[in-house]
Symmetry: D4
């Protein structure tokens, strides 16, 4: 297992350049805890090596620093994601990102943009929560057309389980920290989703749209193994 | 506030005989922590005073002791409830008790039998959980006919929220301790239900079918105040 | 189940216009996570369709945007609620909103104003917590006159249980996040209320005055089904 | 601080014979985790040194072993306490032990018997929970006559706070593990009691009647310091 | 959405016969909370309708009842699963079930047998936990050959994250309740897995081998959509 | 129980003027959640009726408003307490307030100043935590001289238990929110204190110096009942 | 990193025979979840390869099976440990195992016997909990003579922190599940110990005497690196 | 045990000057909860008595005050540590501080600087988390050269367990509060680390780099006891 050639040591960080070869997903950058200088240095290195880079949870100060760099990039404030370079074409299949409510949009957009960065086609079906089932049932055909569903919900977090009972695709559930006190900053919908009766639901961390996208893309890759 | 005449002091217990006058719900007996002798003594006193008695969470040993008494009574092992005497006629209106799955039956039956004891008409719609929505939608007409809905569910506990989005009646949610590890013995569905997006859901304790019935009956009484 | 005509798709939100027909409670707007522009757009659409609109948890910036709209509206900073248009007459019956202390007022006022928006008559009995029982007992007649009681309390959250032992009306319990550290931002009174010995208490989410009002109004509607 | 003469080393245990001198409360024995032989050896040593001994949480097997010893002793199965020798006369003042319900009796009796062992006069007022306030108010005179109140309750655990608002004595609160699921084996009433609005409540561990008695007796000793 | 023809009402249960058509996974039976009679009745109905049936968490008494039926079936005591009839051929692709230790075998076998029931080829790589990395690295080639990996681990639950950093397949993580006290009956590894740094991990409930298998099979189906 | 004459209704608050008669402790004011105007109005009323007033958790804005009133008062920023009027002479006995560290001072001073307001003599022994036992043992004589000990500690919260093993006085334990992450904002020391092996420890809420003082004063009053 | 030669594949288990070379601690066996046959097979293999074997958490049935084997072994029921073969001489240095109380003995003995198995000299100082400090101070000289201290305590778990303030050796803290309800089966002392003010305390899992011994032995090995 | 001469009483603090003699680690200062004046006074006293001083968790305001003092000192903003005077030479042995990611650097640097203050040689191996194992394996030789390893990680916290399976040195695990919601501000990695399968891991508090350093230095001292 010769792994020595695949690391870029920046001193404060050790970039895992062999990740795409190992896992199919190129290394990306998680913003929190990094200075703007550290973040731009990492993005620059990834862009140079991989031809594209993705940063998530980008703070306003980090976004400013990235905008000041001498390459073009796209920063989306709502989802706090930054993309630069030339990501792959969307050829892997379709991910449908659903949300229970409007408050889940930042997480859903993180998922959508990350999935696109990794090469997925992305469909969006927002505000189809279970309190008004007809909204969901009215969009069912569109949701069923997707290869993988990412279901994003806060509060009670019931959406993924209900969706999984209606479609055949894998459902990746993302709990969000949206809600009243007893949602426990997202711990309640996380637990709800892990307990979903409908088989086929698997769960990622609270507000982790990125992780849902990465998992969904791994699943899409199975289409290439037919 | 003259309350002195309304207590029966059995030494080990102080029966609240004025409860029906104050709250509309006669005192009942909760079995755990009482010896069979204590339980039968309380039931006897309530039967003598009120003409009927209800005991919940009756253990097998307690049930044996009750059966040996010189009055007729009805013990249901699944719901662990015991009723004797002549409860009121079912004139208050209709409670529909729904469950997510078959494993919720003991709690649902406790709710159903207690509601009947307090004078409600009871409808049952079992195993209509959200993993197969058509089961619920197929019974929607029957559920909508009820004045109050008691929705009983374990695991993810999504049933009450989905029901509340489809009916106009108050929905009393009962979480059950049925499920895999992360249901946390019912704490997870309790939290789910408290976070339901659909307005109109209120929640009682885990596995507390009795409490749901009592609350539902208080609501039914509002029909008399029209 | 023809539900297609009842949704207004604003792109970022999918308004559930059939909700009043299904559940008796018109769709309302929850402020958090929405931009001022999104909020005013939703309020405008609800006002146009329903003749009245209610927004809860309105932030100062959202309130500014709403005030700048070309229709009249009433914003209450303490309860963070906003009402515009012509809500129904208060004909459904009476809800009494009680609080344990003065710190519970914002949540209690949210409950009171939302209940009024949905057509309830509202009575207020504030600062009647159980540490000085005579305050509660002195107001008992007024509380007993109500059809439904909403009991709001933080810290130990004992008020709803004590009230439920004294009245025959349904008691909707609202835990608040007011208190010292071990109140766990309201989780402790929520648990207290769910464990109330006095039957007839049902519970909503922490600080969720809106949810309590909606549940209470569903109950009041039972008076029309007599 | 010469402490060397005050320890009795039994090999498996190191008895703190100086405890009464330091804290006013003689060392006692906590049964769990000890073999019957270990327990009887400790009781024998304490009886020999102090003239009296108290064991708590005595298992049936331990009780058998104690009964087989060649001294007289009094084992109470409900409270799982064992007393032998000659405890002090009840001269310290009066502790009133109240309970919310009948299920709290084992813990209450542990408190009562331990307080008596340490020299307190004990009054008992059982089943005066807040769901039927008149039961408590009807016994208020008796409770107010006590120097210290021990209030024992499970489920919602509201009794100590209500009592503390009605009496001037210190109130020691004991949560019990009696209740439905969300009482979390007593954690909920513990939290309730710690959050009591009525000042003057202090709390001991779940089901810890012994600890409540010991604390109450320390308080009673203050009467000697007048 | 005509769903009426797809339910078999057994009185105590409402079988979701349309599930395979909707989700690709035929309805199965979860044993807990059902009497042996109820379980055999459901298995019989599923066998009659679908030609095969799977029951999970089968108790010894339920297993006895199933063995007494007049059809052949295969009960595996370790995984508590029962299969009868003719499940599909293993044509969907390969699932590799890995475990951290020997104590995880019951859950892993549940996953393996359920995946096989749904039509997957199953590979097993047991006892490859991260405390001895060479065990895992020595089996890496075999694990990488799978289309989907199910990683089962208790205690710290680190296996799925480490595996996901080494393979390109989706990794379904199953926490188990195996471990010392602070594993909190599986809650700790569940949280660990949800927090895995390596992207591509999604999580199911504690000890839920069945749920992992169902999710994995949904993923395998994507190979048919290439 | 004539309680009607003892309430002062300010509209937003219902002052419990009979509290001193019932419990020995005059009503005081808890600042959070009250506007500066509400707070000064309550203080004014209490001062007028009782001749003295105590406010706790006073915010800077509230303190400003109180300073602007036309009576003299003493605001201590560290403990956030405000006292005005003429509290009773310190004749009840001595409370010793100990702390584990310097970070516990705000809570300890709240306890000290409140105890003084209620009529206790107060001794202070700060920074005597168990990490350097000699600090505590060196002050033991002073601590033993007190009638009641209030032990304030964050982090691990071991101080009260160690003190209780060394003194005969009742020990009121106050957990503080001082510490690293796993102190859980004071929940950990609260649990530690409730589990203290040394009998005689009772516990109040996190950071609740006021509650500890009130409880200690109730205990001191026992000296008058000798 | 050639690791292939160091694994013994028993089918159901993959023994890590290179562990001693890598970590200085030979592989041992954890009993739970293994059949008696599996356990004896593993012990036999380890004995054959390493000349000695240690099994922990051995159940009575497993102990019976081990006793029936054709080699000599030593089973200690209290600590549930089994040792066979020829462990190393006790040359590494001294570990002192302290306990707070007698109920902690099973965990302490597990630590003591495992440390001895790994080559440590073991001293025992039991029942020196902080409720009677003189017991601890009286044994301080003996404790200070050790190279590493393992401090075992349940309930409040204060012992390790107090010890660490008095000695210079590393202190390994072991929380036990002994105690009243709010000890939360050992979670409370675990949190206490992690929050110890005295620097130098590190913590292992609840009741994990084995883990404490292994960590202590790693520390002792440092003496060889002088 | 003459301890009286070893305390410096500053009024607000009681410095434990005998700590180095007792535990080998001189008293240091924890910044939170102290005014800048208090902090500088303590630092001045420690510097005067011990010739060196270390302050941790120094706030910007405290750092300003320290810089204004008339002695030289070194403040590192990232780790929030301040050192002045002449710490001991790094002669005790080598501590290797590893991190899972870049976000763990502040905690890791606190550990590194504190270990250096206490006399350790420090090696740093950052960003070697388990999501890319080759990063860790590529640095294994360097890590194995250390006498003690401090492994710092947030999110899932798997690093210490994996390291402990690869090295023979004691591994001190430090959980950090870095991560998505379900890391629960570091509680999840703390639990993960306590449950590590690889023996030899012991754990300190969340983000407590100081505590890890102190424990590691105690271990290093064992080299002097060979």
């Amino acid at each position: 297992m010769d792994m020595d050639g695949t690391t870029a040591d920046l001193g404060f960080a050790r970039l895992d350049l062999g990740r795409a070869a190992r896992t199919g997903l190129a290394e990306t950058v998680y913003g929190p805890g990094k200075t703007p200088e550290q973040l731009t240095a990492i993005v620059a290195e990834l862009l140079r090596r991989n031809g594209a880079a993705l940063a998530t949870r980008v703070s306003p100060a980090q976004a400013e620093a990235l905008k000041a760099c001498d390459w073009a990039g796209d920063h989306d404030p709502m989802s706090r994601t930054y993309v630069c370079g030339t990501p792959p074409e969307p050829t892997l299949g379709t991910v449908c990102v659903c949300t229970g409510g409007t408050g889940d949009l930042p997480v859903a957009e993180e998922a959508a943009r990350c999935a696109a960065f990794f090469g997925a086609r992305v469909a969006r079906e927002f505000d189809v929560g279970v309190a008004g089932l007809h909204r969901l049932l009215g969009r069912l055909e569109a949701i069923r057309a997707a290869d993988v569903v990412i279901a994003v919900a806060g509060m009670e977090g019931a959406l993924p389980g209900v969706v999984a009972g209606l479609v055949a695709a894998p459902v990746v559930a993302v709990p969000t920290s949206v809600g009243y006190g007893a949602s426990l900053q997202g711990l309640t919908p996380l637990l709800t989703m892990v307990n979903a009766c409908a088989e086929g639901v698997t769960v990622v961390n609270i507000d982790n749209g990125f992780g849902a996208a990465a998992a969904a893309v791994r699943m899409l890759r199975l289409r290439e193994r037919a």
